[in-house]
């Protein structure tokens, strides 16, 4: 499965929760599959989806799911020790690990070669790290939500993109809409 197929499958699971979605195609895909006020779309700043999600989770009680990519985690590798050492049991980091920088044309990442983000997350001190195959993502995500334990999911899947328009919603509107959903 490619990322957009996984997002389509897990959209009903994501819907009731706060979601911070990675820059580029992941946000465009989620926006086109199931736009919700509870979704925060990153329009810039590669690498910070996990940091933003952790910040939201630490500031309030609702479940927060950051949808990140292997390339973006590699960009901000320092995020994993910070997550491990600031446990927020309402936080789930879903790393869609397709071994490539999808939004820029599927250039290969090191995570698709010798580097295991699962092993890195564990070595950083993250207690609940689950590596799964694309077809199992929904089940693993639902279990992580139900466990009420901070969980890092590394979802191994195929690289590949679908063609979608960019998000034209104003960033301040995206942010304001998301903040209203946090308070609701």
């Amino acid at each position: 499965m490619i990322r957009s197929e996984i997002l389509r499958e897990i959209a009903p699971i994501l819907r009731p929760h706060l979601v911070v979605c990675n820059i580029g195609l992941p946000s465009q895909e989620l926006h086109s599959i199931d736009d919700q006020p509870t979704n925060f779309y990153m329009l810039g700043t590669m690498g910070l989806a996990s940091s933003i999600g952790l910040g939201v989770a630490l500031a309030q009680d609702k479940t927060v799911i950051s949808i990140d990519g292997d390339g973006s985690i590699l960009t901000n590798m320092g995020t994993l020790p910070t997550i491990a050492n600031n446990v927020a049991d309402n936080f789930i980091l879903l790393i869609v690990d397709n071994g490539s920088y999808g939004s820029t044309g599927d250039q290969p990442t090191y995570a698709g070669k010798l580097t295991s983000l699962t092993a890195v997350a564990k070595a950083c001190g993250c207690e609940n790290v689950v590596e799964c195959q694309d077809v199992d993502t929904g089940k693993v995500l639902q279990e992580a939500i139900d466990s009420k334990k901070m969980t890092i999911i590394v979802c191994k899947c195929d690289s590949g993109n679908i063609k979608l328009p960019v998000i034209t919603r104003d960033p301040v509107n995206i942010r304001d809409r998301f903040m209203e959903a946090v308070k609701a």
Partner: protein, 165 residues
């Protein structure tokens, strides 16, 4: 009262309850004070752009954030300041150690110091420079200003302000 305590008192009085820090000798006292206060969730960052991501999240989650860092971090965080903090219009007080000014012992710090104000001006970031101890009296008003206008705001604090090394 120590300057560090006064600064953190002002953070608390302005309901700033989520502070991320990247280590700095000059700001060591403030960082210790943040860690000691029960009103503040102190979360050390590994890099300043990561810290700004955490602050953006905390703000959207309903808390008032702040970041404490060195001026060298301006070089690290320009993209984040522009495409996250400013693009989504979020407030962020940045308490910055202004290394490379008078009394600086490390030559390399002067290299970034000469660019600091120019970069902040280029980014249209309101910037305040604390040089004398009494300048700290403005800190409370600067915090109020930051959360009024939803902008990143820089407070540069130099070695003379901190009483030298």
């Amino acid at each position: 009262m120590s300057i560090s305590k006064k600064i953190v008192d002002d953070f608390v009085a302005n309901d700033v309850s989520f502070i991320t820090t990247v280590p700095c000798k000059q700001l060591g006292g403030v960082i210790e004070e943040c860690e000691a206060r029960p009103e503040i969730y102190h979360i050390p960052s590994n890099k300043e752009d990561e810290g700004m991501g955490l602050c953006a999240g905390a703000f959207m989650g309903g808390k008032r954030p702040a970041i404490i860092m060195q001026n060298t971090a301006i070089g690290v965080t320009i993209n984040t300041l522009v495409t996250l903090t400013q693009f989504y219009r979020m407030p962020l007080p940045m308490l910055i150690s202004y290394r490379g000014e008078l009394k600086e012992p490390v030559a390399c710090q002067a290299e970034m110091a000469v660019h600091t104000k120019a970069l902040l001006a280029q980014l249209n970031i309101p910037t305040y420079h604390f040089h004398k101890e009494a300048d700290v009296e403005e800190f409370d008003a600067i915090l109020k200003y930051t959360f009024m206008c939803n902008k990143p705001v820089a407070i540069l604090t130099d070695a003379t302000f901190w009483g030298g090394y």
